[in-house]
């Protein structure tokens, strides 16, 4: 029982990370109808910038001699990482994707792969992050908050789930309760008709990229909390796999649907951890992709996605 609870907690925690990344995939797809393959590298950048910015703020790897950082330093690292990566997201859209607005979708897709390769390899340069793994900063003390049914609830899990939750609720408000959100939904339905409403479509697209990048950055930050230790170099296959699973989450939830991305993320996280705990753990990635295949076979629009029919 206690191991089951522990598995659930891990599943939800990792599912929250997947959900945050999936939101970026799904929002960009919703608006531009293309899969931003560089998005998983934005997540990687978030993790590495967490480490870098924590270093600038004097937080030592693994806690060093000073111990864990104060809570406000942790929040500061999160905010600065999100801002920095958000700016990177803006620049990428501006330089790589905007010039291709009228180009065929395939060109944009190939460009996204190019951006992805660039980010992976640029990150390995000696004066950027380098090719060696680096130790994560200790931003939270390893405290057990309380125990339920023999499972000790760690501060880290609460922080990761709590931050994910706050960000996801923030997205819900942004998209369904604000002027910018209604502009985003209008653009995702039809860029042409949105422009006839007086919506500056380019601005909405930039905004979407920035928000998506910031959420992925937050996921990178939370990843370093949940998995302290050595951060793998930016071109390591493990990052791609995490990004791919988040992409699967977006598809399973219904690509283009923000609530679907959250649901898909949690579902994929839970399925992954439950299958590792109760089935052969070597196949953890295979289980996730099997779910993808099942969804594509039986409900290709995803759980919350809708096959829209236009009235004429």
């Amino acid at each position: 029982m206690s191991s089951f609870l522990q598995t659930l907690i891990d599943g939800v925690t990792v599912g929250g990370l997947y959900a945050l990344i999936a939101l970026g995939y799904t929002m960009v797809y919703g608006i531009l109808k293309f899969i931003n393959f560089a998005h998983s590298d934005i997540f990687t950048l978030g993790a590495w910038m967490t480490l870098t910015i924590a270093g600038w703020l004097g937080v030592q790897a693994g806690g060093g001699a000073t111990g864990p950082a104060a809570w406000y330093v942790g929040v500061g690292v999160l905010v600065l990482t999100m801002v920095f990566v958000g700016v990177v997201g803006f620049v990428i859209e501006r330089l790589a994707y905007r010039p291709l607005r009228q180009a065929p979708k395939l060109n944009v897709l190939i460009t996204a792969i190019g951006v992805s390769l660039f980010l992976q390899n640029f990150g390995q340069l000696k004066f950027i992050f380098g090719t060696d793994p680096a130790p994560t900063p200790l931003l939270l003390p390893g405290v057990t908050l309380f125990s339920v049914g023999g499972v000790s609830i760690q501060l880290v899990d609460v922080a990761v789930i709590g931050t994910s939750l706050v960000l996801m609720l923030g997205m819900e408000v942004l998209i369904f309760r604000t002027r910018m959100g209604s502009a985003m939904r209008a653009v995702s339905f039809s860029t042409r008709n949105a422009s006839l409403m007086g919506i500056n479509v380019d601005k909405v697209i930039s905004f979407t990229f920035v928000i998506g990048a910031m959420l992925a950055a937050a996921a990178g930050f939370l990843y370093t909390l949940k998995y302290p230790g050595q951060l793998k170099q930016t071109a390591d296959g493990m990052w791609v796999m995490l990004g791919l699973k988040a992409f699967v989450a977006a598809v399973v939830g219904g690509i283009g649907n923000v609530r679907g991305a959250v649901l898909g993320g949690l579902l994929i996280g839970l399925i992954e951890y439950l299958s590792v705990a109760y089935l052969k753990s070597e196949y953890r990635d295979a289980y996730v992709f099997a779910i993808l295949i099942l969804v594509l076979l039986f409900r290709p629009e995803g759980i919350l996605g809708r096959a829209t029919v236009e009235k004429v």
Binding site: R185, A186, F189, S195, L196, M197, G198, T308, V312
Partner: protein, 236 residues
Amino acid sequence: MSLLVIDNLQVNYGAIKALRGISLKVEPGQIVTLIGSNGAGKSTTLRAISGLVKPASGSILFEGKPIGGAAPHKIVRLGISQAPEGRGIFANLTVAENLALGAFQRRDAGVEADREKALGLFPRLRERFQQNAGTLSGGEQQMLAIARALMARPRLLLLDEPSLGLAPQVTQTIFRIIRDINASGTTILLVEQNANMALDVAHHAYVLEVGEIVLSDAAAKLAQSDEVRKHYLGVG
């Protein structure tokens, strides 16, 4: 001064010349209609005015200022809004949200009053206010498209084929409301295949054939001309 002056406007879609140098004027307070068969370039003209397609040459002046080639959202800000062909409603949003988007550029206090006015013109929309726009009937969607365009408080309202696919009775209603909108002071440029209805409601009319204007006169006069009667009104 004319509200809108188009001079020698050319628009190309790749190698296809959609508009081969058309010139027209819209006087303030009028309904001007552009009639012609499918593919004559009627919708292209409206798209060029709204900035959705870039003119290859020629000029578009709105209130004396050149607007040819400006971005669509800037043209809305200048005071031109459009109910596009096929209605272009956001089926994933509610009627209320669609109307709010029509006033996206506005931050003045008059938005709510204008919404009440629009709902007064189209009482059906009030009944369906919180419904998803995708669930509306074709006629209701057309009403929503016009009401939404009015939410921008335009000085020039562009209507692209408002009768398309609608039952005759619904078309009658829509055209009655178009007349009301004009009577309350909004200038309208109306594109229609239903020449009968269009000539009936308009002050001035232009006939477009394969990218060129072939006739232009007061609407009442054109409705009497043999050529128009034969080719566009299906009589004679």
